[in-house]
Amino acid sequence: MAEITWPWQYNFPPFFTIQPHAETRAKQLEAWQQLITDYLKTTKQSTIDVRESQNCPVFNNATINRKLSQESLLIILEEMGKTGRAAPVDKSKNVWEVYWHSLDEWGNMLYNWASSNGLNNTVCTLFEIREGDNTVGEEFHGLDMNVLIKALKALEVKGRCELIEFDDNQGVKFF
């Protein structure tokens, strides 16, 4: 696991309290969103379980003895949801998917990769995309399956690929 470089805010106690002052709050939330995205990107995760957030070093800074409460985390995640950078998985909003790129961006990235590798009009499995040798070094290598499918579905709507199911595996055909 790659080492995370904590931003200065991480060791600033007020960072763990949602600020009431509008301008301050905006800056704070922005910093949080950046931190969450960076952290998940580094650790190759895509989901956050609000209930278990306190076990995660991001939301629990033992050195300054501060924790981000679940309510505060929810505020941040909902803020991220507004800009399409996160979405709740369940109705009770306990588990959230966080996209370190928006789904559109992911889609474009996948499409560009396919085009540049001459994979248009051929079918490749999702497994290939996630784990294949071809994609090592690409950002979406090891991307969460659900996020990948969502990104591809968004691409499908635009008519630039087609999701195919065969056997118990899933594939995609880029146009």
């Binding site: 600033f12 106690p13 007020p14 763990f16 009431p20 704070q28």
Partner: protein
């Protein structure tokens, strides 16, 4: 049963015959007694029980003084609810010392029952409860019996006070609470009488002190400079020499204006000492301390402070969003407060309201308001943790990420 007395069936002076009933049995609490099939006579003071025919003849009978009774009720009727209630329960107070001998010396019960073979006559019950409530024995002179036993009767202690004292049951509790209230009421009014007298004297005191001070001024030569100074300082600490009082104004609003003027005059210096801002509670204490005896109520003070702005005083009443009221010098602006507070924040790294109150020499309440003000202007940010609320310099806005 131990409250009954043997006595000849004669009416005392001032005692009135009320009602008669036949075929009456007495129960001592729940127990049956030998007193069955008797005749009962209710008077304004007592209940008499005798064998049929004994009472009219004036022979010895049982007597229960009504002052023992503090509560009576009809016993609910038998198992099958037939024929209506037959028994009256009389709840009794403790036996008094000096009681004449009766059929029982001690009884475990605090009630007796009269059982009526033919059912309770509603009129009898009504007359009984009226007689108990009327308390005829309290109004009349102490009972004197016409017989030779008068000596014994006169040694009986006054009945009324004991009657309303130690009682069992809810009635007893209620009565004792009522009595406590009355006592408190009395002591309060006594206390305030003294205070009123003190206040009446206040004006005189002030005028005396004034004449003394003018005398001193005239005879400057006789007394040493030191003495004069000391005496003057005593006089000063007496406070305002002519307190604005309600009596001197025709209407409340005039009074408030006068009071506001006075507050503004006396508080200017104080506010400057305290950093330009003071909670209204502190102001109230200061004002009343200075006035000495002509105290103002918090409400009057609040009303007067509301007028401060309209009379052009150099200070005004201010209510913080949290609801805290303060008196604030007009020169004390939010920006000023925020700037000085944020400076303190920079110097100390972080501040809790308590810490700031010590640093800036203001109350904790005001310190908290200052921090909130600073936060509102974006110069501080908060940190809520298990250790409480603390404030930090707002690095979110000042430090570029």
């Amino acid at each position: 049963m131990d409250r009954f007395e043997y006595i000849e069936a004669r009416l005392f002076e001032g005692e009135n015959y009320l009602k008669r009933e036949k075929n009456v049995k007495i129960y001592d609490g729940e127990d049956k007694t030998q007193y069955v099939d008797g005749e009962v006579v209710l008077t304004s003071h007592r209940i008499l029980w005798g064998k049929p025919g004994d009472i009219p003849k004036g022979l010895t009978c049982l007597s229960l003084p009504l002052y023992y009774v503090f509560c009576l009720e009809e016993e609910s009727s038998g198992v099958f609810g037939l024929g209506g209630p037959k028994r009256i329960i009389l709840h009794l107070g403790p036996a008094l010392p000096g009681k004449r001998p009766g059929p029982a010396v001690v009884s475990p019960y605090h009630f007796v029952k009269f059982s009526f073979k033919d059912g309770i006559d509603p009129l009898f019950y009504k007359a009984l409860s009226e007689a108990v409530n009327a308390k005829a024995w309290e109004r009349s002179t102490p009972l004197t019996s016409p017989s030779s036993e008068s000596a014994v009767t006169s040694t009986r202690p006054p009945v009324a006070p004991v009657n309303s004292k130690i009682r069992s049951g809810i009635v007893g509790i209620e009565r004792s609470i009522e009595e406590q209230h009355r006592a408190t009421d009395e002591s309060i009014s006594v206390a305030f009488q003294d205070l009123r007298k003190l206040m009446e004297k206040a004006k005189e005191m002030v005028s005396i002190s004034k004449t003394i001070s003018t005398k001193i001024r005239e005879k400057q030569g006789d007394i040493s400079e030191d003495d004069t100074v000391r005496f003057k300082s005593y006089l000063m600490s007496l406070g305002i020499d002519d307190p604005v009082t309600r009596d001197t104004f025709r209407s409340d609003s005039d009074y408030y204006v006068g009071l506001a003027q006075q507050i503004s005059d006396m508080m200017v210096a104080v506010l400057m000492d305290c950093g330009g801002i003071m909670s209204l509670a502190d102001v109230w204490c200061r004002v009343n301390r200075a006035r000495g005896l002509e105290l103002v109520s918090p409400e009057d003070l609040l009303n007067a402070c509301k007028l401060l702005q309209s009379i052009g005083a150099p200070m005004s009443l201010r209510k913080f969003p949290s609801g805290a009221c303060v008196l604030q010098l007009n020169s004390q602006r939010d920006e000023e407060v925020a700037r000085s507070t944020s400076q303190l924040l920079e110097e100390n790294g972080n501040l809790t309201p308590v810490k700031l109150s010590q640093l800036a020499n203001v109350s904790v309440l005001l310190a908290r308001e200052r921090l909130y003000t600073t936060e509102r202007l974006g110069l501080a940010c908060r940190d809520e943790s298990i250790e409480g609320l603390a404030f930090y310099p707002n690095l979110f806005l000042t430090k570029s990420s």
